[in-house]
């Protein structure tokens, strides 16, 4: 079966996010009422797996192995079957 996972990799709370801060700064300069900007990266991964559970296990592993650096990154993902 075909699954689609949406993986979002962001910075763990407490780690400085210079990209977000710079963006926030320039948005404020354009007079928008910005409080904070955080930057994250989204991967949309389509994969084959026998079950939702199996797909989730694969995605978890991919996140650990490649997509996130546990020193600074936090990961969120959702897996859904492609109909």
């Amino acid at each position: 079966m075909l699954y689609e996972a949406r993986v979002e990799v962001g910075l763990k709370p407490g780690h400085s996010d210079p990209e977000g801060e710079t963006t926030a700064h320039s948005l404020k300069e354009l007079t928008y009422p910005i409080k904070e900007v955080k930057v994250s990266k989204t991967y949309t991964i389509t994969l084959k797996a026998d079950s939702h559970n199996a797909a989730t296990i694969i995605i978890e592993e991919i996140c650990k192995r490649m997509l996130a650096n546990p020193t600074k990154d936090s990961v969120n993902f959702k897996v859904a079957e492609v109909k």
Binding site: G14, H15, P18, N69, T71, K72
Partner: protein
């Protein structure tokens, strides 16, 4: 082992782009250097035929995902066993800039408990943000341990350029204190950014060009054989590469970067 017998593998993959000048530096220090494509190392060539492994600067695989991450995972997946042996036999590994990022992503640095299967540190986005090409001052910290800096230094402050967007050395927030202490205890902090007078940069921009924790510019593993640094010693190898050589009548013969290459040659000739 004689200097002329030292075999250096400067390895590359799509996006590596500092291989030629890195090879040139090793050759000028009388070692044999060869640029080897990662594909060759996976197929017809043997990593263990070399005495030094060098991962030069560049944007390996476009630095997609995170700087150095993709190549690091490929490196360990394809050559993990041989790299472990390389490290166990105390053969030197050098990572410059993108190479440093690769070594950290591969778990080869800092090696708190040996080679790690996940990164134990990170080189985060610069503070201030953005790509930054500039000459910086570096203080030799715990250097006598490290194969690449063990040579008696004529001075404690080196002038070498950096050029990167992701070079801010960081540790996991919750372990930061302990791990930093451990790095010090193990004499792993080799190079720190400093002011021109040698005083610690103390996180002051631009002396510390990227916001690195504790002004860290380069670290080694506990045995001192694997070394990664953000500055580019190959760009400060010759005197004519220096930014201020025109102050004198003609350039000096060498720059401060040469020390790194000379040190590792000395390490190998003494050890093996």
């Amino acid at each position: 082992m004689r200097r002329e017998e030292i075999n250096v593998a400067v390895i590359r993959v799509g996006g590596t782009n500092c291989d030629l000048e890195t090879k040139r530096a090793f050759e000028d220090s009388n070692m044999k250097a060869e640029i080897v494509h990662f594909n060759q190392l996976c197929r017809e060539k043997d990593l263990l035929d070399y005495d030094i492994l060098v991962i030069p600067g560049g944007f390996s695989h476009g630095d997609y995902v995170r700087a150095g991450a993709i190549w690091a995972k490929r490196l360990m997946a394809r050559l993990g066993k041989k790299i472990r042996q390389f490290v166990d036999e105390d053969r030197p590994i050098l990572g410059i800039c993108n190479g440093f990022q690769v070594l950290v992503e591969a778990g080869l640095l800092p090696q708190f408990e040996g080679i790690s299967s996940f990164p134990e540190a990170a080189l985060g986005t610069n503070i201030p943000t953005g790509y930054n090409c500039r000459w910086v001052y570096l203080k030799l910290e715990d250097h006598s341990h490290c194969a690449f800096t063990r040579k008696t230094a004529s001075k404690r402050v080196l002038k070498i350029p950096v050029a990167h967007a992701e070079g801010r050395f960081i540790l996991a927030r919750e372990k930061k204190r302990k791990q930093l202490e451990k790095l010090m205890e193990n004499h792993q902090i080799v190079l720190r950014y400093c002011h021109s007078n040698g005083e610690t940069a103390n996180d002051e921009y631009p002396s510390n060009p990227n916001g690195s924790l504790y002004d860290i510019a380069g670290i080694s593993n506990p045995t001192g054989t694997t070394f990664g640094l953000m500055p580019h010693p190959e760009r400060a190898y010759f005197g004519w590469q220096l930014p201020d050589w025109t102050r004198n009548d003609g350039p000096p013969t060498f720059g401060d970067g040469r020390f790194i290459f000379e040190s590792v040659a000395e390490y190998l000739t003494k050890k093996f």
